[in-house]
Amino acid sequence: MTKIAYYPGCSLLGSSREYDESLRAILPGLGVEPVVVPDWNCCGASSAHMLNHDLAISLPARILSLAETLGVDEMLVPCAACYNRLVVARHDMAESPDLRARITDITGMKYAGTVKPLNILEFLEKYADVIKEKIKTPFEHDVACYYGCLLVRPPKVMKFDRCEDPQTMDAIMAALGAKAVDWAFKVECCGAGHSIARTDLVGKLSSKIVDNAVNSGAEAIVVACPLCHSNLDMRRNFINRAAKKKYTIPVIYITQAIGLAMGFGDRELGLNRHLVKVRFPKKPAAQVRPETITTAPAPQTEQTEEA
């Protein structure tokens, strides 16, 4: 078992617990043991940097300092929002010694900058070969891989994949047996932080994403971020209202897709916790003819209703 520092983040203890459950379900199969960062705090998410820059760097800096006490080089951060804040904090402190001195004064903790946060896709990419070996039932569905904002932007700081058309998740899904559809909204914003204060805007932005995924022939949207998931899944009413349609396309975490391919049950992966039921209507057909899907673009009409 390889040990890796693990920073779950607040969402994974609450509204996105299925992400944590599915990740913990697949990790032993990959030979990885997660060691939770002791006494971790919230990264501050968008609210901190919206109002106070020092706070927005100090909160992640405390997490990085705590992770350093574990004596590891890498920390797995499944939440894309936490990952973004941690990488930005680490980058800014490396760039500016003044800032670093100010932040360590604020936190009152030693900071060496030795722990590198890993996002879920970087992490899974490293274990791609192991995952392939563990596949029991290939995940033969057409999926729209949705990356969102936080994994790829700002590209200068994130330095992850191609910022307008990333491929990491597409490659992982293809290895599971899925077909990653070509679609236009891979890195568009879902509305993230406005989920509570301006839910109408979330409905508007997310409806464009769901609509494009459905029209591109996807049976499911695969995500790697709890904010994207909660907006596309929990806010589906607002999406349907904004689009004046009834979308039934499920939204799953990439860890759940891997778990399904590895043969885990729905409950072990928390698939029962979604508001939009995870069903694949085309499943029998897809199993018979996994390669002929491109010739039949029609099935999507059953998922949408004209207003």
Partner: protein, 193 residues
Amino acid sequence: MSVATKEESGKTILNDLYEATGVSVSRCYQCGKCTASCPLADEMDYTPSHILRLFQLGLDDYEDTILGAYSIWVCLNCETCYARCPQEVDIPRMMDFLRAESVRRKKVNPRAKDILSFYKTFLDSIHYTGRLYEVGLIAAYKARSFHLLQDVLMAPRLFFLGKLKLFPHLIRNRKSLSRIFKKSFSKRQEAVK
């Protein structure tokens, strides 16, 4: 660029912006790509390129116009503008600065009060417990914004899906969080003054 109006300290907001963030508005050549990329540009009163133009021209009252803009609160920091800007103007960082300034100088657009309430409630939640407690966040936000009924109908369903926690997670060393909050807010005041 014309000479901008001055705040009581004798420094313009433009200087403050540059000192605090390193963002130089004169780099912008008004191609408008940021505005074209912005997913919420149509909800804004002043689009990102328009705000940069206000800075560049520095006409009378431009500070109040910018700090009182609804746009700076509509902005989600999705960073699309920055990723695509040919001149690499860090607009999201500028927006962060403008929001903090807008609060400090009490110029927040009245339409933005719900959005600001949400951010403040969020920070309060992590200030006292160390981690975000979603149920507490939503309850406190309702109390602050008076949107009492919003989202309540979803609660029972979320509870049965196991997504609602009845109690917050408290971290052990909450003092260190208090320290971070106290110092971050006091430092910023010094830096800006």
